[in-house]
């Protein structure tokens, strides 16, 4: 019994470590990404059950002809069964979406400008002066931060997978993305929208600081 339990724990660790990585949405580092990850696992479970159900019905279709009621299939399964599942899912998605949206709560704001091919971040420093850094975004750990995103040239997309979903950087517009890291540390970010020959290398780093404003030591990447 004990061996079996150890084996299952080992298996679980292997599966989860297979999903881990500095850009993995399945290894969230904050509550926003964590809620979306949970949404994913729930949807995966539901989708697996539905797939098995449909393939099971398909397999049972091979055999002698049966008397069937057409409306059971078209209305019962096609309409009502799918509507019930989809309505539940839609409600769940809206609920999660509302919870993770940026809201007016005086969150710290940082400006991000994307360009071919890099990121420039403008923070408001302790003395009110602006602090600009290329490729490194500094945030405090444990509190929500709103990133105001725009682009200097073509469309890019701001994405820190372990913290939140992506938001596009569009010339002429300023989009707001809320990110939140539970713990201090360094997190990877990237451009998700294809933007030309430098797209693959258009990465950046998010440094979440335990103390805010950060001391100079921590500032060094």
């Amino acid at each position: 019994m004990r061996a079996l339990r150890d084996l299952s724990i080992l298996g679980g660790v292997l599966v989860l470590s297979g999903c881990a990585g500095p850009l993995s949405t399945l290894e969230p580092a904050g509550p926003i990404a964590a809620q979306i990850a949970w949404l994913w696992w729930a949807m995966l479970a539901g989708a697996a059950l539905i797939t098995l159900f449909v393939l099971g019905l398909l397999a049972l279709g091979f055999g002698a002809p049966r008397n069937v009621t057409p409306t059971t299939w078209t209305h019962g399964l096609g309409l009502w069964f799918s509507l019930a599942i989809l309505t539940t899912l839609l409600a769940g998605g809206l609920w999660v979406g509302e919870r993770i949206l940026p809201r007016d709560d005086d969150a710290i704001e940082v400006r991000a400008e994307a360009f071919q091919w890099g990121w420039r971040f403008v923070h408001s420093g302790p003395d009110g002066a602006e602090v600009t850094s290329d490729g490194v975004l500094h945030i405090p750990a444990g509190v929500p931060v709103d990133v105001l995103i725009t682009s200097a040239d073509v469309i890019h997309s701001f994405w820190v997978p372990q913290m939140a979903g992506k938001v596009d950087a569009i010339p002429g517009r300023v989009n707001r993305a809320r990110i939140l890291a539970d713990r201090a540390g360094r997190y990877d970010g990237l451009c998700a929208e294809f933007c030309g020959v430098g797209h693959a290398g258009m990465r950046f780093v998010v440094v979440a600081h335990a103390d805010w404003p950060p001391t100079l030591d921590e500032d060094a990447p």
């Binding site: 297979g18 999903c19 881990a20 990585g21 500095p22 850009l23 949405t25 399945l26 990404a33 979306i36 949404l39 994913w40 949807m43 989708a47 449909v54 393939l55 019905l57 398909l58 279709g61 091979f62 002809p65 057409p70 409306t71 059971t72 299939w73 078209t74 209305h75 399964l77 096609g78 309409l79 799918s82 989809l86 899912l89 839609l90 769940g92 998605g93 809206l94 979406g97 509302e98 073509v154 469309i155 994405w159 997978p161 979903g165 992506k166 938001v167 596009d168 569009i170 010339p171 002429g172 989009n175 707001r176 990877d188 990237l190 451009c191 929208e193 294809f194 933007c195 020959v197 693959a200």
Partner: protein, 847 residues
């Protein structure tokens, strides 16, 4: 012999149509007579002049399969590059060209032409007629497709292919960030190819509505026809936004008209809206014909009529409607408010319902019948396995928060391949294996087909199943190297290895088809014992399809006696005794026979016309704009010649289609097929105009803080000029209407004069317009003026065409010639000009 689902036609209904049987003749002499009239020209020349739907449908499908192979090879290059984290196989520039071309080829040069080819080849056979409504248009569509495709392939060979991704987002695809002709190749090439999509959509609509066998009611026609009707309506409404967007972007690139330039009041999101207004219906445009094939094949494989005919038709209509309300789910990350996203999320989720109705109707059909595991059924099972999963990941992506994470990652790549290969390629393989006996007249060589299926299934799922995980682990689309992410290596390597397995599978599938066509034994008629008319003909199918056309008597029965009945001339309009290509035109609802259409024969005109369009496209690509403008003169002249070809030059006497039943020929009847076709074309034209209005409204209302427009030159004088323009077009429309009623040449003359006045007013207005390069709204105004001008020009041409017909004595009280078509076009021109004028005034007030 209508669809197996429909209730049997009662004999009473057959008698209500009062179409007695023709006397039987010798089948062989009837065959020779029809075959001679409907044959292609001999030899290579015959390939250039063929207009037969059988020839062209097969050629569409074969060409599409070649492009599928080319697109597949490109995907193997992509997989080779991604197999290792720092693949040095391709440089980034070529990698970008290759993935852009892979997507563009698979969408525009494989999937759409393939479904057009299937519709063109199959519909006349299924509906009981001899050809599509506009055979020359079929041929024109094919040549435009081939030439457009060759232009894009040539660009790839010379390393100047499009490289901005298959959805060509601005500003990346604009002149500043994408210099060179790469993006122009996409914009001009794809638009050129889409002439074939619009042509196919028009003639598929008309063929389904007006050429069904007498007695085959709309509500009882084979489901495949319902699916293709839905597809063609979506194409008529869905392609115009893409064409509008492509024209605007090409104008921006070529002439610096700033539709998408933020600094001058444009908005890059306008492109995304126009693109996805096309792009999402496109997914269903591809899926519906495939589902139509499934709804045709599954009941035959299960030896039972399909379950839930009415529910499936309702599901098709629901899909057509809903598919136009979900384009924004491709844009969940562009910064649209959450509540607006919720609406599009709900619509995107809802679209799964009609899909589920069809899935369960098909499985219910299997329960009702006794499924037989022939080769087409293997591919149908492959469809179920793959498409159900693809549909479920689609529902996941419709959920906004999850979409924010998964968007633009390999998860989406995996999803779309599950949907497109599951929902299109597997059904097409089922269709190919099902209809091959009708195409080749031969039986399959057993073994290889089943092996190909297994290799494809294993290869496909091995490639794409774990790609979902690759995406969730953060790998974005369209990157060529990932040196910092060793956790993606094993995932990508696995996908690459299985990708090559899948490619081997497709090669085996192709080899199987070739073996069947060359080595197969002769197949007997109707090998599947199918209930539809496509099998009520000899194998391989002759060019004329039916020696005599099926009527109510044949529709009420099934089996070989129907085939023999038709072959021996007992049906309607037997043979080709007048030496011309004839078929029956019926009413939309109950398919009452109305008149006999005489179709044009083999012609090189479509080839010449599409070649002259190709010259225009190439001159545009070369940046030789004045020359390109001049190249439109031969295009216009050839269109005139085309119109002359519609004029019947043979005996206009009524034709006896059954003993005692005489019908007029099309020149003395209305509405003709051509008039129905014009109505369908105007639906697309209206969608194009609506796309421009959408653009203007978007830039005026949605674009945040647009750059201020320079002071406009709107004055009393321009207002008066517009009033003269609209007034002249309105009077021209009234004149055209009177001309059509009274057949009096005076009204036609008056209409021509009013059109000329309108053109003069428009030319004067064009000189008063603000510089279109100054601001996006000025540019859109110029485009709308151009739209009205083009339509007024065509209206003038149609009026002149009618005047020419008077001169030749081709118009009289019984023969309206071009007047009905001109009247409709002129009314459309007047209405759009009025709307454009009103909108421009309102918009000038807003800005």
């Amino acid at each position: 012999m209508t669809d197996a689902t429909a209730p049997d036609h009662s004999l009473a209904e057959a008698e209500a149509l009062a179409l007695p049987a023709n006397p039987r003749q010798r089948a062989l002499s009837l065959h020779r007579e029809a075959a001679r009239v409907w044959a292609n020209d001999p030899g290579f020349r015959g390939q250039l002049t063929a207009v037969s739907h059988t020839t062209l449908g097969l050629r569409f499908m074969a060409t599409a399969f070649v492009f599928f192979a080319i697109g597949g090879i490109l995907s193997m290059l992509i997989r080779a590059q991604l197999a290792t984290p720092q693949g040095a196989f391709l440089d980034t520039e070529h990698y970008n060209q290759i993935f852009t071309m892979h997507g563009s080829i698979m969408m525009f040069l494989f999937a759409i032409p393939m479904l057009e080819g299937l519709g063109i080849w199959l519909l006349p056979k299924l509906l009981g007629t001899r050809d599509m409504a506009f055979p020359r248009l079929t041929s024109l569509g094919y040549w435009c497709y081939l030439f457009g495709g060759l232009i894009m392939l040539t660009a790839l060979l010379f390393g100047v292919a499009p490289r901005d991704g298959w959805f060509m987002y601005t500003p990346l695809s604009g002149a500043a960030h994408s210099p060179g002709i790469n993006a122009d190749v996409w914009l001009l090439g794809v638009t050129f190819v889409e002439i074939s999509a619009l042509a196919a959509a028009v003639e598929i609509t008309v063929t389904i509505l007006r050429q069904r066998a007498p007695g085959m009611k709309l509500t009882e026609m084979p489901l495949f026809a319902w699916y293709m009707l839905g597809t063609s309506v979506m194409m008529l409404a869905g392609f115009p936004p893409l064409i509008a967007g492509s024209v605007l972007l090409e104008l921006e690139r070529a002439f610096d008209w700033p539709f998408f330039d933020v600094a001058r009041g444009g908005d890059p999101l306008l492109w995304q809206h126009l693109f996805w207004l096309f792009g999402h219906p496109e997914v269903y445009i591809i899926f519906l014909p495939a589902a139509g094939a499934l709804s045709t094949i599954i009941p035959v494989m299960c030896r039972t009529p399909i379950l839930g005919y009415g529910a499936i038709v309702a599901a098709i209509l629901g899909l057509v409607f809903l598919s136009f309300g979900l384009w924004v789910h491709h844009m969940f990350t562009v910064g649209i408010p959450h509540m607006a996203l919720a609406f599009f999320s709900a619509a995107s989720v809802l679209v799964a319902v009609p899909t589920a109705v069809q899935i369960f109707a098909w499985i219910g059909t299997m329960w009702k019948g006794r499924p037989e595991l022939h080769l087409p059924m293997y591919h149908i099972l492959g469809f179920f396995l793959t498409f159900v999963m693809g549909g479920l990941t689609g529902v996941m992506l419709a959920i906004v928060p999850f979409n924010w994470q998964a968007h633009d990652t390999a998860f989406v790549t995996a999803h779309l391949h599950y949907v497109l290969i599951g929902g299109f390629v597997f059904p097409m393989m089922a269709a190919a294996t099902y209809w091959m006996p009708l195409i080749t007249g031969r039986r399959r060589v057993k073994g290889l087909g089943e092996a190909a299926f297994w290799v494809i299934v294993v290869g496909f799922h091995g490639t794409f199943f774990i790609m979902h995980l690759t995406g969730l682990m953060g790998m974005p689309r369209r990157i060529d190297v990932y040196p910092d992410n060793p956790e993606w290596i094993w995932l990508n390597l696995t996908s690459s290895v299985f990708g090559f397995v899948m490619t081997i599978g497709f090669a085996m599938f192709a080899l199987d088809l070739v073996m069947q066509a060359t080595l197969g034994k002769r197949e007997a008629r109707d090998p599947w014992r199918a209930p539809t008319l496509d099998w009520a003909m000899p194998l391989p199918s002759p060019n004329y399809n039916f020696a005599s056309l099926p009527g109510p008597t044949q529709l009420s029965r099934t089996g070989s006696e129907v085939t023999m009945d038709l072959a021996r001339g007992a049906g309607l309009l037997p043979g080709a005794p007048r030496g011309r290509r004839e078929l029956l035109v019926t009413s939309v609802g109950v398919a009452r026979p109305l008149h006999v259409a005489v179709l044009p024969g083999n012609s090189a005109l479509p080839l010449v016309l599409s070649a002259s369009i190709a010259i225009f496209v190439l001159l545009m690509l070369g940046g030789l704009y004045p020359l390109a403008g001049a190249a439109l003169i031969p295009v216009a002249a050839l269109i005139w010649v085309w119109g002359r070809g519609l004029v019947l030059d043979s005996d206009p006497a009524p034709v006896e289609i059954a003993p005692g039943v005489r019908l007029p020929v099309h020149s003395r009847a209305r509405p003709t097929l051509a008039q129905s076709g014009l109505h369908a074309l105007l639906v697309a034209d209206g969608a194009l105009f609506a796309s421009l209005l959408f653009g203007l409204a978007f830039l005026s209302v949605v674009t945040p803080a647009p750059a201020a427009a320079p002071a406009t030159a709107a004055t009393l004088a321009t207002g008066l000029g517009m009033a003269v323009l609209v007034g002249a077009l309105a009077l021209a429309a009234i004149a055209a209407h009177r001309a059509e009623r009274t057949i009096a040449p005076g009204w036609t003359l008056a209409g021509s004069a009013f059109n000329l006045l309108a053109l003069v007013a428009l030319a004067w207005l064009a000189m008063q317009l603000d510089d279109p390069t100054a601001h996006a709204r000025d540019a859109l105004r110029a485009v709308m003026a151009g739209f009205v001008g083009l339509h007024a020009l065509v209206a003038t041409g149609m009026a002149f065409f009618a005047l020419d017909q008077y001169r030749r004595g081709e118009i009289d009280a019984a023969m309206p010639g071009a007047l009905p078509a001109w009247q409709v076009w002129q009314a459309f021109t007047a209405v759009t000009a009025l709307i454009a004028a009103v909108v421009l005034f309102v918009q000038a007030g807003v800005s």
